[in-house]
């Protein structure tokens, strides 16, 4: 089972249609999904799922970035986690990474820097919609970058991934690969 965490600023927001349901529609082809708002995720939810995807949010929505304490569970879980956009930024904050201003909107050239389980090609285009990226640390390896900023990271010891772009828009294979990890 896949736990999809709705990262939007409030429960049942308009952002769900745009950032959560498209993810669920891809993931449901592979496995059963449950959707929970980030303020409603329980230890039982985490215990019962096999993997976790943190959704993106509207460009102006920075709610989770001011509440990294709500995501302390990411540090303790051993389950695969994929953070998308705000999800990646939030993972970064939980592990003490600094946010870096990086506005990108639209199709963006992504360069893969390291062979990894999520994407295989050296360069690809993906849909971006973000105001911030993260600066990395020794705990994370950088998997991909754009001309402006880091685009994908992975924790060195855990199956914990972040992608800044939105794979649900033009790169659903990345989500499928994560589900098959």
């Amino acid at each position: 089972m896949i736990l999809i965490v709705d990262m939007n600023w409030k429960r049942n927001s308009l952002g769900v249609y745009e950032f959560v349901l498209p993810l669920a529609s891809i993931a449901q082809e592979m496995d059963e999904c449950i959707i929970k708002h980030y303020l409603e995720v329980t230890s039982e939810d985490i215990a019962h799922c096999d993997r976790i995807i943190l959704s993106g949010t509207a460009l102006r929505d920075n709610a989770t970035l001011s509440q990294p304490e709500e995501f302390e569970w990411i540090k303790s879980t051993e389950k695969p986690v994929l953070g998308i956009c705000a999800g990646m930024q939030t993972i970064g904050l939980v592990f003490g990474l600094r946010l870096r201003r990086c506005l990108e909107i639209g199709m963006t050239q992504i360069t893969a820097l390291k062979e990894n389980s999520l994407f295989s090609t050296a360069a690809f285009r993906a849909y971006s919609l973000h105001n911030y990226s993260v600066e990395t640390s020794a705990e994370f390896e950088v998997l991909a970058e754009s001309a402006k900023c880091l685009q994908a990271i992975k924790h060195r010891k855990k199956p914990l991934y972040g992608v800044l772009f939105h794979p649900e828009v033009r790169n659903p294979d990345i989500i499928n690969r994560f589900i098959q990890l």
Binding site: E18, L59, R60, I105, L129, V169, R170
Partner: protein, 226 residues
């Protein structure tokens, strides 16, 4: 949150309006009337109908005429959104984009520059589910433009119902046509929807056919009780 809906009067922007109104306050509609029939951003047959549709919805309408030149039309969009923000204090914009990155990224950029929210409640929706939702929720939607083979004159003015959806999907299998018209294959006009307080009645219309595409031109229409 007060929102303005980018409104062409077609099925996608009307459904997006309904999704937005379920959760937030829709304060106004925003329509760009493009003089360029090739505009990827704003061209819609019968866009003049939005005045009547706005009246049916009892919502104010902000209208801007644009020459429809690539990128310059974004300045016109920006002006229209600024006017909506000034007059109706909107904090965000809603679009009916389903899969067009071209349209979505341009509206996102304008909203980002203006520090406004931008929502796309139909984003990546399954095309069949989207059409079926319109029928289930009793939207009256007619095909007002066809722009791809093998769609011909006979489709113009047809109401979208289960039979039309089945035929569109058969054409998708055979010709790769986007059944919801996401590739610009069909354009639509909404005559009635759940939030319409009155419905649009067409009094005079005609078909404009030009070799391999055509428009169902609504010449005269009025609002009548539902």
């Amino acid at each position: 949150m007060k929102l303005g809906v980018l409104f062409s009067g077609g099925k996608d922007s009307t459904l997006a309006l309904h999704k937005a109104a379920e959760i937030e306050e829709v304060a106004c509609l925003i329509t760009l009337r493009s003089k360029n029939p090739e505009s990827f951003m704003f061209h819609t047959p019968n866009v003049e109908l939005t005045e009547l549709q706005a009246e049916a919805l009892d919502l104010p309408l902000v209208t801007r005429i644009t020459e429809g030149k690539k990128e310059e039309e974004l300045a016109d969009l920006r002006e229209a959104i600024v006017e909506a923000a000034t007059r109706f204090h909107i904090e965000g914009v809603v679009t009916g984009a389903v899969d067009s990155v071209y349209q979505a990224q341009r509206v996102q950029r304008v909203c980002s520059q203006l520090d406004l929210w931008c929502f796309n409640p139909l984003w990546k929706r399954n095309q069949k589910a989207l059409l079926e939702e319109l029928v289930k929720d009793q939207f009256t939607v007619i095909i007002s433009g066809v722009f791809a083979y093998p769609l011909d004159e006979s489709w113009l003015g047809k109401k979208i119902d289960s039979e039309i959806i089945a035929r569109l999907f058969a054409l998708q299998q055979q010709y790769g046509l986007s059944p919801s018209g996401e590739g610009g294959e069909i354009e639509t006009s909404v005559l009635d929807a759940p939030l319409f307080k009155r419905k649009v009645e067409i009094l005079n219309s005609f078909v404009e056919w030009n070799r391999d595409s055509g428009i169902f031109r609504i010449n005269k229409a009025r609002l009548v009780p539902k």
